[in-house]
């Protein structure tokens, strides 16, 4: 389901990446020396993350800013305007519950028995008593959510994050996490094809597209982050650092030997 969106996104990436080269400036004359420059400081950089493709990433970061500005945020605002908060929360709950499939498969891939059991319990409870995930009785019953994805699974088994990547629509990521995203979406798409929830309707494609579109809107709705929202000139580095650090902490961890 998400893979269609991903394909479109990848096509857009390529288009923007190619057009982006035109924006690179060439300084024809030598720069005047500023009062302070990099040579005088002998200190480690902080908030540093491997980012060999910074030019393309910044380009994509900017692309996402415009995508938000002209498409996603107006759509999300419209959605929030016409939909009561109660309904918005139920929609979020529904999609979050579907993502438990991703959480479960990756808990299993990491051989985390207890966590897998909890996630399975959550999924069953919320899908039934929670009316298809619209409500979350599982959390109140002591089954907390464990967010997992294939990027974390790769990290868990020792794969490094690789260079930082900014994806169109999805935003900050890494080479490893991008691979993880493709894998998770492939798996979801496989399950979706197998279950074929709209197969019995007269226009399954249309329903499928609506389903995916609402998912995209809900995803942006749940995400508070705004590109360049801080107005801080070095925001790119702050976001890169925070993303990287959070993923490192949450994925790279193995259970210490006892």
């Amino acid at each position: 389901m998400k893979s269609q969106a991903l394909r479109i996104a990848l096509a857009l990436t390529l288009a923007v990446a190619l057009s982006g080269c035109a924006g690179t400036r060439v300084n024809t004359q030598d720069d005047e020396r500023p009062w302070h420059s990099i040579n005088e400081f002998r200190d480690q950089r902080f908030a540093e993350v491997a980012d060999p493709w910074e030019g393309v990433n910044r380009n994509m970061y900017r692309f996402n800013f415009y995508l938000d500005k002209y498409v996603l945020i107006p759509v999300v605002n419209g959605y929030e305007y016409v939909t009561p908060t109660f309904v918005q929360n139920r929609v979020s709950g529904f999609y979050n519950n579907l993502n438990e499939v991703r959480n479960l498969s990756n808990s299993v891939f990491q051989l985390k028995g207890k966590e897998s059991a909890t996630t399975l319990g959550r999924f069953v409870t919320n899908s039934t008593i929670g009316l298809g995930g619209m409500f979350d009785p599982a959390s109140k019953l002591g089954m907390p959510r464990h967010d997992q994805d294939f990027g974390k699974t790769l990290g868990y088994w020792g794969a490094g994050s690789g260079p930082y990547v900014v994806l169109p629509f999805f935003g900050p990521s890494s080479l490893r996490d991008t691979a993880g995203l493709v894998f998770d979406d492939g798996l979801a798409f496989g399950i979706y094809t197998m279950v074929d929830p709209f197969g019995s309707t007269s226009t399954p494609l249309l329903y499928g597209a609506g389903f995916t579109a609402l998912e995209g809107v809900d995803m942006r709705h749940q995400q508070q982050f705004r590109y360049y929202g801080s107005g801080y000139p070095f925001e790119y580095y702050m976001v890169r650092f925070l993303y990287h650090q959070k993923r490192e902490l949450e994925s790279g961890k193995r259970i210490p030997a006892e």
Binding site: G20, G23, T24, R25, N27, Q29, D31, E32, R33, P34, W35, H36, S37, I38, F41, R42, D43, Q44, R45, F46, A47, E54, G55, R58, N59, R62, F65, T85, P144, H146, D147, Y227, Y228, G229, S230, G231, Y232, P233, F234, E235, Y236, Y237, M238, V239, F241, L242, Q245, K246, E248, L249, E250, G252, K253, P256
Partner: protein, 428 residues
């Protein structure tokens, strides 16, 4: 927003320890540095409904201003506007150093006042890049008189934009930290300009002397090994300490439990906590210095003849700018800029002008001011706190703890703020 997030990531979020001394004041965190970083526990903040009448204003304060490509995303001064459907007073709120109009503290103040029936407009600090780029006439922030004139202009533009939509009975003004100090200067200017005729002005944790307060914040960095020149090493060391702690504990995620435990286990020493506050200040300052240098073409950190592109790497500028102290900025860039305009201006006289004491007579004669301060706010000396008490008398409320701004979002403090604006004004 990011800096706060960064601090949260690097440190600890809120526990609910019952450490408070029995003095009738329920704010729980005794340490000045800890309070400054941790702020107020979520459970001790008021809660707000999800739907409120709040929208963003993007103000074109300086219509002729040309924005360089590297700031392509800056489309105007970003303010928040909360409005009532009935006639009510309008409160302007000014953010503290380095904060934008969306900072958590400012938004909490806005929502609290909105719930109490006020219209509110929040403004970014003149030291924030957004303000430097979109609203500062000179592009060189830090002079309280000029910054306040910029603020006043921005308020006028904001008011012009909303006045068709709301009914306003009176105008009030408030600010925290540097924004509080600026509020006094804005109020002074308003006495001449009379556009708003502010009836009340509330200053929360103001700096008395800008130079003095910044000196004390810069001093926090002296406590780290190697001093401020090695802040990168320090930061990375703190980060690995944090990561290791996470890896060896059995934590599920970076959540409240984890952060609480960092606080409980005292993972960071007092010196390290102080160093992290100093570092946060430097990171903020870096944004201001860089934005100012680009806007004025000052050749301070960016070569004078260089036009930075929208996708260009700023990595080196980030490192350079964040390693400059406030004193570097002051002595090499800021003071020379003003000395060019006012020959004969001595450094001492300039420093004295950046202080509430330069408005001494006015502040003592006016009854519109109120002050909220903390006994253990490290940006004030004992003498400066006494100065506030003397100048504003019983309109000075001093809390026993809270550090610098740590207790701003605490329920009692917010109630005091609301009450200050609701009370009938004192007649001179």
């Amino acid at each position: 927003m990011y800096l706060r997030l960064l601090l949260f990531t690097c440190l600890f979020l809120l526990p609910l320890p019952c450490l408070a001394a029995d003095d009738g004041y329920g704010y729980p965190i005794p340490g000045s540095y800890e309070a400054t970083i941790l702020g107020t526990p979520a459970a001790m903040m008021p809660t707000f409904p999800t739907k409120m009448h709040i929208r963003q204003l993007v103000l074109d304060v300086l219509p002729d201003r040309e924005k360089p490509p590297v700031f392509f995303y800056d489309e105007g001064l970003r303010c928040n506007f909360a409005y009532q459907n009935k006639k009510a007073p309008l409160v302007f709120l000014v953010a503290g150093a380095g904060s934008n109009g969306n900072s958590d503290k400012l938004v909490t103040m806005m929502k609290t006042l909105y719930m109490a029936g006020f219209h509110v407009i929040t403004l970014p600090s003149p030291s924030h890049a957004n303000f430097v780029i979109s609203a500062s006439l000179s592009g060189v922030p830090g002079d309280l008189t000029e910054d306040s004139a910029d603020l006043y202009r921005a308020m006028e533009v904001a008011w012009k934009k909303v006045k068709g939509d709301i009914e306003v009975s009176d105008f009030y003004l408030g600010g925290y930290s540097l924004g509080a100090t600026q509020a006094a200067f804005v109020a002074k200017l308003d006495e001449e300009r009379r556009v708003f005729n502010f009836k009340k002005v509330l200053m929360i944790n103001p700096a008395v002397s800008l130079y003095g307060s910044v000196t004390r914040i810069e001093d926090l960095l002296k406590q780290i090994p190697g001093g401020a020149k090695k802040q990168g090493v320090f930061f990375n060391k703190m980060l690995s300490k944090f990561s290791e702690y996470y890896s060896y504990g059995n934590f599920v995620a970076i959540n409240d439990d984890f952060l609480y435990s960092i606080y409980q286990e005292k993972l960071f020493t007092r010196e390290e906590t102080a160093g992290l506050i100093g570092l946060t200040f430097r990171i903020n300052l870096a944004g201001m210095i860089f934005a100012s240098d680009v806007m004025t073409g000052g050749g301070y950190v960016v070569p004078r003849n260089r036009v930075l592109g929208a996708d260009e790497s700023l990595d080196d500028y980030f490192l350079v700018s964040s390693h400059l102290s406030f004193f570097d900025y002051f002595n090499e860039y800021f003071y020379p800029h003003f000395k060019r305009q006012r020959p004969g201006l001595t450094k001492e006289a300039f420093i004295d002008s950046l202080s509430l004491k330069s408005l001494d007579g006015y502040l003592k004669s006016s009854t519109k001011f109120g002050v909220m301060a903390n006994e253990n706010d490290f940006i004030l000396t004992k003498a400066e706190l006494d100065y506030l008490k003397q100048t504003f008398g019983e309109r000075t409320k001093v809390y026993p703890r809270g550090g610098h701004l740590g207790n701003l979002e605490y329920k009692d403090n917010l109630a005091y703020m609301v009450n200050f604006f609701q009370e009938k004004e004192v007649q001179p």
